[in-house]
């Protein structure tokens, strides 16, 4: 585990086929109904005393066949379904899907729509990270941050509600732009929120960053190297905390991200503590982006010219965005009809969860909870 060159090979054939003949080894089932698995995740743990020798994830409890449903709905009708995958970052899901179909149609959303999209998506990233922080801290035993983060997340949900009527599964965007113009006082609300939330993030950090218990529980826990992250396809804050400076908003900019100045925070050690720091820094970067977007939001139409019946030409497209959890991709095949021939969702949580086995080996049972929390998975997205 500690040898960086051999760590990936842990997942090789030999290792996974090893029989449980060692008398000290104990197989324990965790979940699927377990409050710290963030949904219905079942983990089969192989233990030697308190030490984790290996584990296997059993998923699929929330499988709803989203990809199959897509083949039986029109492009427009499928749009709200994507919100139900990663339900704590529904806006990001919608953005990815709308942009993928727009690419397939070879159209672009107008600048004003792109700015609105960026503001809402970044607000949603903040909300997602806040929810992650609250629940992750709760898992580890710090109860207070949950109340702080949920109190502040509420303000974001209020903005969503005022904008489109929904708090969680927002369906905020449409193919070609946005359906709704911003409401009266939208900019004011967002700016007010920015000044409100900036000191709150410091407050979270005050509670945790130098807290001895927090540091002990997170430092050197669930370490993963950059090399292993890449081999396992892990993306998002987990990859960045291992030191890879890669963010799709910079690498392959979409929406209006090209116009904003922001940093990609990275860590060095790839442990749970670094992932915490990276996400905290990302929250601040999101605030920066929102500030710039709301200051420079252009006037103009919010919808591109899209025919009422969406019928992309025959062809296929892959489009991905940087969702709060990592690379969220849509691979859409069109047969020229009004319904997609195939929609494949590349969910970040699903691929990231694959790293759980590697990250937990050699750790204590209690740390498994910390590692599941730090991966920031949403089972609705893992199972689709």
């Amino acid at each position: 585990m500690t040898d960086p060159n051999s760590s990936v090979s842990h997942l090789d054939l030999e290792e996974s086929k090893k029989t449980f003949l060692d008398a000290n080894e104990l197989v324990i089932n965790m979940g699927p109904q377990h409050p710290a698995t963030h949904g219905v995740l079942r983990v089969i743990l192989r233990l030697d005393g308190e030490k984790v020798m290996g584990l296997e994830c059993v998923i699929g409890y929330l499988h709803r066949g989203v990809e199959k449903i897509a083949e039986h709905r029109t492009y427009t009708m499928f749009n709200p379904y994507v919100d139900r995958m990663d339900y704590v970052a529904a806006v990001s899901n919608g953005l990815g899907y709308c942009e993928a179909v727009e690419k397939l149609l070879n159209i672009e959303a107008p600048p004003r729509a792109n700015y609105i999209r960026v503001i809402l998506t970044e607000l949603n990233r903040l909300a997602s990270h806040q929810l992650w922080l609250g629940t992750h801290a709760l898992d580890i035993g710090a109860m207070t941050p949950l109340f702080y983060t949920f109190r502040d997340r509420e303000e974001i949900l209020k903005i969503f509600e005022k904008y489109c009527g929904a708090r969680l599964t927002t369906h905020a965007f449409r193919i070609g732009g946005c359906q709704y113009e911003t409401y009266e006082g939208f900019e004011k609300d967002v700016k007010k929120f920015l000044t409100f939330v900036a000191p709150k993030i410091d407050e979270y950090e005050e509670l945790l960053t130098t807290n001895r218990i927090w540091v002990e529980r997170t430092k050197k826990v669930g370490t993963i190297s950059a090399k292993d992250c890449i081999a396992l396809g892990v993306t998002g804050p987990v990859l960045r905390a291992s030191g890879v400076k890669w963010d799709l908003r910079k690498a392959q900019p979409y929406a209006a991200y090209k116009q904003f100045d922001f940093e990609i925070p990275t860590g060095q050690n790839g442990d749970t503590y670094d992932r915490y720091l990276v996400r905290m820094a990302e929250m601040r970067q999101s605030l920066r982006i929102i500030q710039q977007a709301v200051d420079a939001i252009p006037e103009g139409p919010i919808m591109a010219k899209v025919s009422k019946v969406i019928k992309p030409p025959v062809g296929e497209i892959y489009h991905s965005i940087e969702a709060p959890k990592g690379e969220l991709g849509y691979f859409i095949v069109s047969d020229g009809s009004t319904q997609p021939y195939r929609v494949r969702v590349r969910p970040p949580s699903f691929v990231n969860l694959q790293a759980l086995d590697l990250m937990c080996r050699g750790q204590l049972v209690a740390d498994v909870i910390a590692v599941i929390g730090t991966l920031d998975i949403v089972l609705g997205e893992v199972d689709r």
Binding site: E67, L104, V314, G315, R344
Partner: protein, 247 residues
């Protein structure tokens, strides 16, 4: 009911990949004809349905279906782009080595390689080792039931050092096996399991090829086109959930 409206549409689809191939074949030999055609009939899409000489025969009852087979003549929609040949140093290298086994194409600015099934392991290995495509983004499949080789298998790859994406595609028949990519990218593990679960495609050499989203004893592969949207494994439901049916 949307079930039934959908089922006819795969039929024209069966021919599309082949027409794609034709487009690729023509253009790889002589690019101009493909490019020369679109300007000629710009405002004839409606008339084209009646006048297309290439396929006056069977499937053209619905106007939508008629537009599809007419594609080689490229009258369909003025906006509809077609896959173009893709040219780059990487492609030159690959064609030098593999010749006609691969067709490099680009569509809406995205590059992909249509590869012979037999070349797949070599090409994937080479893309990772020599071209730095070190991140396997996704592995998935698309089902075309009317085609002889029913499945399109797709690998989506990304290179961190080049900031470039490429898709590798191949066609395989139902029941045909394909070597697993797990020795190349560990990330392929769950992705291949999901493809197996949803389409029933067997990956040789996969460490633990079993269902991932559906329960182990389930029969059928839901993302195949012949699997209905409300269809389920009645027997499994009855035995394990103790109910007649969920629907």
């Amino acid at each position: 009911m949307s079930d039934e409206t959908k089922s006819p549409s795969p039929q024209p689809e069966g021919e599309k990949p082949s027409s794609d191939k034709i487009a690729g074949g023509i253009s790889s030999g002589t690019p101009p004809p493909g490019g020369a055609k679109p300007p000629a009939p710009p405002e004839k899409p409606a008339a084209a349905a009646g006048t297309t000489p290439p396929k006056p025969a069977a499937p053209g009852e619905k106007p939508a279906a008629a537009a599809a087979p007419a594609k080689p003549a490229a009258p369909a929609k003025p906006a509809g782009p077609t896959p173009q040949p893709w040219d780059s140093p990487l492609v030159a290298k690959l064609t030098r080595q593999f010749g006609s086994g691969i067709q490099p194409l680009t569509y809406l600015g995205q590059n992909y390689l249509q590869v012979d099934r037999s070349l797949i392991p070599t090409i994937l290995q080479m893309l990772r080792d020599e071209e730095q495509f070190d991140y396997c983004v996704d592995i998935t499949a698309v089902h075309y039931p009317k085609r002889e080789k029913q499945f399109d298998l797709v690998w989506i790859l990304y290179s961190f050092s080049k900031n470039e994406r490429v898709r590798v595609k191949t066609q395989i028949a139902d029941g045909e096996h394909i070597p697993s990519a797990v020795p190349i990218w560990v990330a392929a593990n769950w992705l291949e399991r999901e493809t197996f679960d949803m389409f029933g495609i067997q990956f040789d050499g996969h460490p633990d090829l079993k269902r991932i989203l559906l329960p182990d004893g389930w029969k059928g592969h839901p993302l195949r086109k012949d699997y209905g949207i409300i269809q389920q494994d009645q027997e499994w439901v009855q035995i394990n959930l103790g109910i007649e049916s969920g629907q």
